[in-house]
């Protein structure tokens, strides 16, 4: 399976990174690599290289599942050569 890249910008609340990693793993993706820069102004932008465990795992759905986490500001990724972004406010 192909590695896809997912960038997540989030507020660095306690446990935020753990929450993100847990969600990605639980929703059917292996994390292949992590690009973890230092936090700045209470925010962090982490890049994940992810591989779907099976063909039915849709990275677009994963993006929306990540975006509904409290404290996630933006999710974007290079999916099938297209830059797909999920943004805005969610409850």
């Amino acid at each position: 399976m192909m590695t896809q890249t997912l960038h997540v910008e989030f507020e660095t609340h306690e446990g935020a990174l753990l929450r993100l990693i847990g969600l990605i793993e639980r929703r059917g993706f292996d994390i292949h690599s992590v690009d973890l820069p230092a936090a700045s102004a209470g925010r962090m932008n982490v890049g994940f290289g992810v591989i779907a465990r099976n063909l039915s795992s849709d990275i677009g759905i994963l993006q929306r599942q990540i975006h509904r986490l409290t404290g996630v500001c933006r999710v974007f990724g290079d999916v099938d050569g297209t830059d797909k972004r999920v943004g805005g406010q969610h409850g």
Partner: protein
């Protein structure tokens, strides 16, 4: 029966002039959120909060197991629409809450779970009753907080309620170290309100949906629990009063359209009605409102509604396309979306006539051989006798499916069930939470001889607070649903389902101070229901049923909903 009043003296905050403690801030922040009742169980690390409770104005319900506190708070939330609050100490208290928190997460129920934690200075040292509940609960909470500074408590609690109740609701955990709860706070951080907005439906998606609906010859309205969560019940009823689209519901969507109303054909799925499943299979369009295509509803996904296009309305964009792709996606405010849909009168009279005939042909049959109590008929009669104030708090098993199939629900909050998690033990604490929230409603816990033993200690809570909950216990001396599957799908290899050595449940109830009686013949049904409903206080009816009775119809696992097995 008179309630036994707890004898704890009111501390009245000692009327001290010293700065408030973290625990006192928790209490005042809960009051600020309009909380009246909390469910909990004290212990070492949470003692500062319990020290602040007497005289606080909050009514605390002392359960006998923390799991029951979470289930009761869950049901309280389901019937009131407000967040339910449960409290436990660190370590085992917190882990005992987890099943209830998971239950709220799976069914999108707003809940605030407050756990005590060991003092911050010893966290990470494997201290007595230390457990990382913040980490353990992550997969089953909408969000969580670990309180690091007492002055943040008002902000954290305000934010927790906002998160729990907005958008797609869910549980929020607040882990409170003991030393922080005890510390005095001179300067309280001001609460910064965080505006949340729901996403308005996209007008072009609404127009596309209208076009599909107008062109459809065989539309079906597919209702999930998300309609009630979005407070869109009236909007949906108004919409379908005009549209007249044949409707089905998931387990958690029952009551959104009243049972028996025109165009409503009951529950679909594994134990759905035959008509409901057939009309979905024949549909050319599904208008899906607040549902997530749960596997218990769809059966084999590839074979589900094979000829239907899908319009999917949901407040949670992550649910759209997760299981079944949508031809038209309408994420965002479900109520606004339903109010926006203008489709006039649809030309579907042939379809409606066909569906009506299907409904008439496949109505449930309440005839059964023998003279024993037939649970489906008992439940049908019970819910009709109880009327519009009837609320069923189900446990999990065969009786849960019989309730869904055979009871009359006038509103969504009349059906409290552990839908996503399927947690045995939910019934009695959920009934307690619902009855305390709505004392004038006729709340009936329907349970089985397997489920009741998971939280039977809560009979003591009923007794203590005089909770006038009615309990119907269907006793087949077995784990009935497992037995049914072993009979049908495991070649009759009955493994560990025999509960032949059950206690006499009526005697057990009486020993807790609860009135109880036993029913074993069908001709006792009407009298039993009358006694149950006319008893002013808590009461338990121990109803013996045929151990070989199964739930019908049934879609076998891995099969399409078109392949239903029948009695």
């Amino acid at each position: 029966m008179n309630a036994i009043q707890p004898t704890i003296e009111t501390k009245a905050a000692a009327a001290s002039k010293q700065a408030p403690s973290g625990a006192e801030l928790v209490v005042s922040a809960l009051r600020d959120q309009g909380v009246e009742i909390v469910f909990g169980y004290p212990g070492g690390a949470i003692m500062p909060l319990y020290d602040a409770l007497p005289g606080s104005g909050l009514k605390h319900i002392l359960v006998r197991h923390e799991q029951a506190a979470a289930f009761a708070a869950d049901a309280y939330a389901r019937v009131t629409g407000k967040a339910g609050v449960c409290i436990a100490t660190s370590g085992p208290g917190a882990t005992n809450l987890l099943t209830g928190i998971a239950n709220a997460f799976m069914d999108s129920v707003p809940m605030i779970a407050i756990t005590g934690q060991v003092p911050a200075g010893v966290m990470g040292t494997d201290a007595f009753q230390e457990i990382d509940i913040f980490g353990m609960s992550m997969p089953v909470v909408k969000h969580s907080f670990l309180v690091r500074r007492a002055e943040d408590i008002p902000q954290i609690i305000a934010q927790a309620f906002e998160i729990a109740t907005s958008g797609r609701p869910g549980p929020v955990l607040i882990d409170l170290p003991k030393d922080i709860a005890q510390s005095r706070v001179e300067n309280i951080a001001p609460i910064k309100p965080k505006a949340t907005s729901s996403r308005a439906p996209d007008p072009s998606a609404i127009a596309e949906a209208e076009n599909l609906l107008k062109r459809s010859k065989k539309p079906v309205l597919y209702i999930g629990g998300g309609v009630a969560k979005a407070r869109a019940v009236l909007a949906l009823r108004r919409f379908n009063m005009l549209a007249g689209i044949p409707a089905v519901s998931t387990l958690t969507g029952l009551g959104t359209l009243p049972t028996g109303s025109a165009d409503f054909y009951g529950m679909l799925g594994m134990h759905g009605g035959k008509a409901a499943n057939m009309l979905v299979q024949e549909a050319d369009l599904l208008l899906v409102c607040g549902a997530r295509f749960d596997d218990r509803a769809t059966g084999k996904v590839d074979g589900f509604a094979p000829n239907a296009k899908v319009i999917h309305l949901d407040c949670d964009p992550a649910e759209i396309g997760k299981v079944r792709s949508a031809d038209v996606a309408v994420p965002g405010d479900l109520k606004a979306a339903l109010e926006s849909l203008k489709i006039g009168i649809l030309d579907i009279s042939d379809w409606r006539q066909h569906v009506r005939a299907l409904g008439a042909e496949h109505e449930f049959n309440y005839e059964a051989p023998g003279s024993g109590v037939f649970a489906p008929a008992f439940l049908d009669e019970l819910s009709r006798a109880a009327g519009d104030r009837f609320v069923a708090a189900c446990d999990v098993g065969q009786h849960q499916m019989w309730v869904a199939q055979h009871c009359q629900f006038s509103r969504p909050e009349a059906h409290l069930t552990s839908g996503g998690l399927g947690a045995m033990g939910y019934g009695i604490p959920a009934g307690i939470g619902a009855k305390l929230a709505r004392p004038d409603d006729c709340v009936v816990t329907v349970t089985g001889d397997g489920s009741i033993m998971m939280n039977i200690q809560e009979l003591a809570t009923m007794r203590r607070y005089g909770v006038a909950l009615k309990i119907v216990l269907f006793d087949n001396s077995a784990l009935g649903l497992v037995r049914q599957w072993q009979e049908l799908f495991y070649e009759g290899n009955f493994s560990e389902i025999d509960l032949y050595d059950n206690p006499d449940f009526a005697e057990v109830a009486r020993s807790f101070g609860i009135e109880a009686f036993t029913v074993s013949r069908r001709d006792q049904t009407t009298a039993a229901i009358e006694r149950l409903l006319n008893t002013p206080g808590p009461v338990l009816a121990h109803v013996h049923i045929n151990p070989r009775e199964n739930v019908w119809p049934l879609v076998p696992p891995g099969k399409s909903n078109a392949e239903m097995m029948e009695r």
